[in-house]
Every structure is written in C-alpha cells, then in structure tokens.
C-alpha cells in the first residue's frame, strides 16, 4: 500500500476493482461490500440475540418455579440448565455483542465516517464474516450433539471443561471451544481491516483528530482485542489438547487449572472494554447530534480512552480473588480495578458535559443513549463492591455479580444496539422509524430491565449464589422472600420480552411504509450522513473532502446549527 495514501487517492482505484455485483447471491450473500457485510453481521447477531433471550427465558422461568412445565420448552434438567446458562453467556458476548457492536457497527461506519468507498481488504472482510457464520452454525450444532451442549460456564474453567467425565458433554465441550476459537479468528481478520482502513483511507483533508470519536473508539477497542486475545487462543488450543488427546496443561497432574483462569481473564476482562468503547463512541455521536453541541473535550476523550485501553490489560486477576492467588497480587489488581473507574468516569462526565447548555431533543436514539448513561452508572458504582478484594470474597459468584455485569452489558449491548439501530435505520434503509412506537419500545424495555436486575442485586446481597439449578434444598435461600426476588425478575423479563413486539412491528411497518429519510434526517455533521440513504455500492459518486472537525454544531454566526464536515463553507 502506498504510504502516502492518507490523502492520496492511490488505493481507490484498487478498491473499485470489485464492481457492484448483480445477482442475489453475489449481492447479499457473498458480497465484499462493507455495508452488506455489516448487515450480515448485525442480522446474524440479532438472530443470536433471540436465541440467547430464549435461553434466559427458559432458565428464569425455571428459577421462578423449579417444578413447572415451561411453555415452549418443557421441564428443565440440571444438565440442560447448565448448558443454557453457559450458552446464554457465550452467545450474548461472542455472538451478539461482538458482531453487532464491533463488527456490524465498525464495518458500516468506518468507511462511511472517514469518507472512503470500502474497507482496505474487502475479501478479508468477506472471509471474516464467512468464518464467523461457520462458528455460529457450529455453536448451535452443539445442541443436537450427543450428550448435549457444553455446560461448564462461559468461563469454561478446567478441569471441568477439560474432561468429558466431569462435564458429561463429550461432544459439546469440543464444539463449544472450536466455535469460540473460530469466532475469534473471524474478529481478528475484521480487526486488521478496521485499523488499516482507519489509518490509511481517510478522506482528503481528514486528519486523525477530524475522525469522529466513534472511529477512534472502534480502533482502540480493536487494538485492545488484538492485544488480549492471543493468550486465549493459545489457551484454547491447550484446552482442546487436554480434551482430545489427554494432555494435562490444565490438569492437576503436572499442569495448573489456575493458568487457564489467567489466560481466559487476560482476554476476558479487556473484552468488556472492547464492547464498552464502541458503545461509548455511539453515545458520543448521538449526544452531540441531539443536543446540537460540540463534543466536550474531544482530545481528552481520545486520550482517556487510550488510558482505559492500557489499564484494561492489567485488571484481569480481580476475577480470581478467591482462587488462591498471592495476596500481594490481589492488592495490586484491586488497585488497578479502582483506578480504571477514573478514566471511565471522565468519559461519562464528558458525555453529560456535552449535553450541558445544549438543546436536547429526545428523539428515540437519544433516549437510548441517555438510557445507557443512567443504567451504566448503576453498573459502574456496583463495581466498587467487587473491585475491592476483601468484599469480593463475599460477593464472589453471587447474583450480585450477575446483576452488576448485566447492568454494564445490557445498557451496552441491548440499549446500545437499539441506539445504533434507531440512529442508523434511516441511513441503512432510507426510511424513518415511527417515533411513537420507538418511545413505547424504549420505556417498556428500560423500565422492565430494572425490574429484572434490581431484585437480583438484593438476591446477591443476601448471599444467593449463581448457577444453582434449584435452591429448594437450601433453607436460607428457599425462603418466600428470596423466591419473591426470583419471581419478580422472571415476570419483568416476560414484560421486557413483550415490549420487543412494538419494535418488531415498527421495523416491519417502517420498512414498507416509513417516511423517506433523505440523506441527513438528523442534521448531523459526520460524513456518513453526506452519502445517500441507503448509500450505493462504493458509497459516493465522488469521494468527499473534509474541511473541519466532526462536532461543529451551533457555531456562533452561522445560520444552520450544524456544519457538515464536507461542506465547503
């Protein structure tokens, strides 16, 4: 690649080497177009979200009434309960959050936001999705494999995960591990593209600090992902050898079960930030657009995000405070865990400060963005309990942990997913969504969400451990009060699921009969809104030129309260 291609259009001729495909298969299934790949990732992710929610429906119904026959499922066995809990976690992280938030969003937005016609390596991009799709099919095949799907928790701690004698899923454990490994390969390929494209293909005149903060966040998230995932892949290979040929990398005889915990969490905790950062980027974009204000402290945001990225690499062992690690080490990880809350708080503050003195229009994407801030706040402050090693001993593996990370991940993945969906729906389809249905969907989902997980905080505070199939044998946990918490959570989940109907109806209705959106319905500055809705293959009739930063809203002396990056004046 021509190193001077930051501004020179040298690569653009290459990228146009693939012409717009015509047939259905080449256009939608085997396309190299970044927008089609983004949609493939997003739709696969949304399908898997339905699968994951269905699983949570089954085990929550069971927890509310352990002997009941569950509609659309039947009676849940302990082994199936473990499989569902395990795969719910795995799917929601690896097959929903990653494809929707990182792959879908990144693929769609990076080329459009930096004003180029496609990713730098379109075929690598296509390969990335194909491998991801394969991994999806493989994971789901686990459910029809002899012995059932893997049920050793999404953290897959050996020796439980390493030996079929222990986990009782001789096929399921290998399939699960292979699927996760393939999924990671897919995102590594995609990640190469993200970084290379953002570095090399920016529109003429666009400097690094003219990129929307979302692109920065995706790039930083991708860097964190690439830095942290290596040990996990190595660990997965060793675990696969333990499972198949009987090595003892993670066995007690010559190996070390705790080693896997380090390898897993060395990836597993940065992964949280891999999911967090693109979401924060989206929130920044939406907040600026809907409060007509420049982003507060753009450069500070970017530097802080780098800080988060670096710190996220050194907090992993806070998952292992009860694993018997060296107490001095535990203190250090306690410290880094509390320290990382500072840059995250700075970013959160920057968001609120962006709205300060703005002119806030509560359109549906903005509602979701504000919802993310509020709910994530509760997820953040409850982290203080768990970050401190002494308290964590009490809370370890209780429902408090479950509620805590759902309060961080559901705002990011579900609220964030809906924020992205409602914000970019006009761009992707050329149609507007219905505001009223969107509001019903938002309020119903957000309120029900709190009723699912606030009771679980209290369950956890009362000492209820997670991943327990049936509490009826434990006197302290089988009291009517404890059962009530579980029942409230389950009912709220049903309400939350019901409130997805207005969303589905809204999407279908708007696809066919929505008002035309035009290129820039939100009056936004960033380049993706300069392209047609939906953008054609190649995105632009001619590549845009950038004259200013992305957040020039309400500039004094201008008639319009926005100033697109590509507008000449």
């Amino acid at each position: 690649m021509n190193p001077s291609s930051v501004t020179a259009p040298a690569h653009q001729a290459d990228a146009h080497a693939h012409h717009e495909p015509q047939g259905f298969f080449s256009k939608y299934l085997f396309s190299c177009d970044h927008k089609v790949i983004a949609l493939q990732y997003t739709l696969t992710g949304m399908f898997m979200a339905v699968v994951g929610v269905y699983m949570s429906y089954v085990f929550r119904m069971h927890l509310a009434n352990p002997t009941a026959h569950i509609p659309f499922y039947g009676v849940l066995s302990p082994a199936a309960y473990n499989s569902l809990v395990t795969n719910h976690g795995t799917i929601m992280i690896f097959w929903v959050a990653m494809p929707v938030l990182l792959a879908g969003l990144g693929n769609y937005c990076i080329p459009l936001m930096i004003g180029c016609d496609d990713m730098v390596f379109p075929r690598v991009n296509r390969l990335s999705f194909q491998i991801f799709f394969l991994s999806t099919v493989l994971l789901l095949l686990g459910f029809i494999a002899p012995g059932g799907a893997f049920g050793g928790a999404w953290t897959s701690y050996p020796p439980l995960s390493a030996k079929a004698d222990y986990n009782m899923t001789p096929w399921g454990n290998k399939i699960w591990l292979l699927a996760v490994a393939l999924e990671i390969v897919a995102f590594l390929l995609g990640g190469i593209n993200f970084i290379t494209t953002a570095m090399n293909s920016r529109a003429k005149g666009m400097k690094m600090f003219d990129m929307p903060v979302l692109v920065w966040m995706i790039v930083i998230a991708t860097i964190i992902f690439m830095m942290s995932v290596g040990p996990l892949v190595a660990g997965a290979v060793m675990l696969l050898l333990d499972q198949t040929v009987g090595t003892h990398f993670f066995g007690a005889q010559g190996g070390d079960p705790v080693l896997w915990q380090h390898l897993f969490w060395f990836f597993g905790h940065p992964e949280v930030y891999v999911l967090l950062l693109p979401e924060l980027g989206v929130v920044c974009e939406i907040i600026c657009v809907f409060s007509r204000k420049p982003l507060f402290g753009y450069k500070t945001m970017v530097y802080t995000t780098f800080m988060v990225g670096i710190l996220s690499m050194v907090v992993w062992a806070h998952h292992q405070f009860v694993a018997g690690i060296d107490p001095r080490m535990a203190s250090i990880f306690s410290l880094t865990t509390i320290i990382i809350s500072i840059p995250v708080a700075v970013i959160m503050f920057g968001m609120i400060a962006t709205m300060f003195k703005g002119s806030i229009d509560f359109k549906v994407p903005m509602l979701w963005a504000v919802g993310i801030i509020v709910e994530f706040l509760l997820g953040g402050v409850t982290g203080i309990y768990l970050g401190s090693s002494a308290l964590d001993v009490y809370f370890h593996d209780t429902y408090f942990v479950v509620a805590h990370f759902h309060y961080t991940l559901i705002p990011l993945v579900a609220f964030g997913g809906f924020a992205i969906f409602t914000y970019y729906f006009p761009k992707v389809t050329g149609k507007m969504l219905d505001e009223r249905l969107g509001q019903i969907h938002f309020w119903g989902t957000a309120i029900a969400f709190n009723f699912v997980f606030i009771p679980l905080f209290f369950s956890g505070l009362a000492g209820e451990h997670r991943r327990i199939y049936d509490y009826s044998g434990f006197a302290e946990l089988a009291t009517p009060g404890m059962l009530k918490m579980r029942v409230i959570a389950t009912h709220a989940l049903l309400v939350m699921m019901a409130f997805q109907l207005p969303f589905i109806w809204n999407v279908l209705k708007s696809l066919f009969a929505g008002a035309p959106a035009g290129a820039n319905p939100w009056k936004a500055n960033t380049l993706e809104w300069a392209a047609d809705s939906p953008p054609p293959h190649g995105n632009w009739p001619e590549l845009p030129e950038v004259h200013r930063g992305p957040y020039e809203y309400s500039v004094p002396g201008r008639e319009d309260d926005y100033w697109p990056q590509n507008a000449a004046n």
Partner: protein, 266 residues
C-alpha cells in the same frame, strides 16, 4: 448508621469476627455508592431538564466552563483511595497474611469432590495427617487420602459436616479431588476456591453458634446444585465431646485395619 444500611439491603446475619470489619466497610461502600449514584443522577436529570430543546432552543457552542467538576472528580478519587488504603487493603492483608497462631487455633482440611465435601479433623493428637491423592480410597473409608504410615493421621476423622467450636480461630486448607469447587461460608463472610492441585487456605473465627447451609460457589458439573453441606458452630465442650468420640472411633478402625493386614485405612 453506617452498618444499618446493611440491614436495609438484606445482608444476612454475621457469625465471624473479621466479618464485623467487612460489614462495616460494606456499609461505607453502600453509602458511597448511594451518594455517587444520587449525585450523578441528580446532575444528569438537571442537565436533561434544564437543557431540553423546549426550554433551551439554542445550544451554546462553548458549553461547560470552570473546574467544579474536576474538583468533584478528585473528591471521588480521594474517597476511593480512603476506601482502598484505609479499609480494603488492611482488611485483606489481615485475612490473607496474618494467619492466627497459638494452641487455640483449630487446623483442618476441606476436600471437595463432586458433589460433596469432606472435612478432615486432626483428632485428639491435634496433628493433621499427611494426605495425598494416591491414597484416595472412599470404599475403604479413606475419602481424603490420609497416608496410613503417618502416625499423625491415625486418629484423624472425616466428617461431612463442618462442625466448629465457637470463639476459636480455624484455619482450613481447601482443595479438591476433581474439578474446582468453592467453599462458600456466607455467614462467615469467607469463601475459597477448592482447586485440584492447589492447597489454598482460609481462616476465620466464628463468634456465634448456629447451623447454616454450605453451598458450592463454583459451577462443578451437573450435580452442582446438590453439593450441599452443613456448617455447625457449637459450644467448645460440645465440640470436644464430638471430636473425642469421632477420633477414638477412627483410631480404633485404623488399628484394626492394620492388625487385619488389610489395605490400611484409618
């Protein structure tokens, strides 16, 4: 007041000495969290109401000026530092480094297996016998693998119930035969992973008699939810009586086994 909030939040009753400190810190963290959450939310709600488009149709390009927020941020950092350095670290150090010593200390072993717990007591000689996975022989009454040649092990006994005397510190070596379990003692505010091949320790001092359920705190397979044991804290003399009887029985069995020349079990 500080600890009152624990009651409101439904923290179960406490039964260990160090738990007092921990609950105290928990109370502080509760308040800190409430203050942080209410503070942030209030600021957010103010911004959302004050600057909504209807009330503020024209956005200000420059926005926030001043350093109040920086000061607030620093304030939060200081509170966090106090929590960590003042409470969390000393408490952790005490629990992790300063193990109790002296004749008063009860030393024992917990060995998890799917899906039950074995608690090995030192018996009348107050010395724990050496154990090793190669001597595991549950059918011959040796579920924790006590070495038959170790004289200290001869009067050791194994109980499915964790019975402890009140008011005496106990150090438990926690390990596992197969997969990772977790000995979670909620009223003692203590938990420790039982990892095969790893000898981890936990200690606490029960200050209240009572009976509680022990749940396994780490997913260990299809029978995980049935892995229940009982924690029983009793008066010293009740414990001594029970321990003496159990220990004598164990000693008798092991000498009989040795005399019969069978595979030695204790």
């Amino acid at each position: 007041m500080v600890s009152k909030i624990n009651e409101w939040f439904g923290i179960p009753a406490l039964a260990s000495e160090h738990g007092e400190l921990l609950d105290h810190m928990l109370g502080f963290v509760h308040w800190f969290m409430v203050v942080l959450f209410v503070g942030w939310s209030a600021y957010l709600v103010y911004v959302l109401c004050r600057f909504r488009a209807k009330r503020n149709p024209q956005a200000d390009y420059h926005g926030v000026r001043g350093h109040t927020t920086t000061h607030l941020e620093i304030g939060v950092v200081i509170v966090e530092a106090i929590l960590l350095l003042g409470f969390a670290f000393p408490l952790w150090a005490r629990q992790a480094d300063e193990y109790p010593t002296g004749p008063d200390v009860l030393r024992m072993r917990a060995l998890g297996e799917k899906f039950l717990w074995n608690f090995q007591y030192s018996g009348n000689d107050k010395m724990l016998g050496v154990n090793d996975p190669k001597f595991f022989n549950p059918n011959a009454g040796n579920p924790v693998g006590i070495d038959a040649h170790d004289p200290n092990g001869k009067d050791d006994f194994v109980s499915p119930t964790l019975k402890l005397p009140v008011g005496r510190p106990v150090i438990i070596d926690v390990s596992s035969k197969d997969v990772i379990h977790n000995l979670a003692l909620v009223p003692m505010r203590a938990a420790q992973d039982a990892t095969p091949g790893v000898r981890a320790h936990m200690w606490f001092k029960p200050v209240k008699t009572g009976t509680w359920d022990i749940i396994c705190g780490q997913l260990c397979g299809p029978g995980h939810a049935q892995m229940k044991a009982v924690l029983e804290v009793v008066e010293q003399k009740d414990f001594d009586e029970w321990s003496k009887g159990q220990s004598e029985g164990a000693k008798k069995r092991s000498s009989e086994a040795a005399a019969a020349g069978k595979a030695p079990a204790h």
